[in-house]
Assembly symmetry: C2
Homo-oligomer: 152 residues x 2
DNA sequence: TATTGTTATACTCTATAACTATA
DNA sequence: TATAGTTATAGAGTATAACAATA
């Protein structure tokens, strides 16, 4: 049966979604690398930018990651002087994470790279094409009840 | 400007493509794991299934990976008794890689999982929706001249 | 010297689970 | 004992570059 042939995968929509996704992400990875930032770091920077001071555990929750993973990412951002840890007086088990001034300056620049990257690969589509594809994809997200942010 | 705001990324089509791609791939990773196979291994299995006996360097070329990466993947498949190395008499620097009988049996089963996974997430779309999205994505692949297969 | 395949090393991304400090 | 955060360990995925064998 052709349906189950291992050579049939180009008939899969998921194949093309993954193909495009991987290449678009790869291009973005390269753009971020020019600013010495990885994709996972960008995700945290963006979240910190919009949330302000947060607990690592909140960050983990929001991003659908473990506390251990967040701990390492925050440490990397700290080493790069983009984020800082602050003690919480009321409960010494907690700490807040916050962007440094440098982090606050850098994040919008990275956002611009994200815009450029999107425009580079999807900018040629018409408005109605973009809308239709986006709606189909959002619908898939919704009907599967996915809530966490995509990371890689 | 809202356009460059770090909070604007949900307006990016690439965001939704990545979001869906990651979740669909993750679900497929789980299905493969039940068969004790990783995604990278599946990609090589599928290629070996359709190509028959090939040199590792050909495999690397076809899949857009380095020879080192292929070397390790082939070794993993060999340990799992899914593929085997054979000496080439005419030139001892070369070798051919080929699926074992078990590898040939398993690959169509994995292809079926790929079919099921695709149906699970995209099966609700109409034929014309699928076609339109696939065509837009294929067009993006073509206009960027991408040739290698997506891996992750 | 050029080529094939292997190996050493390294890095990203992530998880699980054990651990420390605090409550 | 329960919770926050850290660390140890592991494993997938991949690259670069040095290496051995062969041509």
């Amino acid at each position: 049966m052709a349906k189950d042939s291992p050579n049939n995968l180009e008939a899969h929509l998921g194949y093309w979604v993954r193909y495009v996704s991987n290449h678009v992400s790869h291009a973005f990875t390269q753009k971020l690398a020019a600013k010495n930032v990885t994709v996972a770091e960008w995700v945290v920077l963006r979240e910190l930018y919009s949330l302000g001071a947060v607990y690592p555990s909140e960050l983990a929750e929001k991003l659908g990651m473990t506390r251990g993973a967040i701990s390492k990412l925050v440490e990397r951002l700290r080493v790069k002087c983009l984020a800082e840890r602050y003690a919480v007086e009321s409960d010494a088990r907690y700490q807040t994470i916050e962007l440094t001034a440098a982090g606050k300056r850098l994040t919008p620049t990275l956002a611009k790279l994200a815009d450029e990257n999107d425009h580079e690969f999807f900018g040629h589509l018409t408005k109605s094409q973009r809308t239709e594809v986006a709606n189909l994809l959002k619908d898939i997200v919704q009907r599967n009840g996915w809530k966490d942010l995509p990371i890689s």
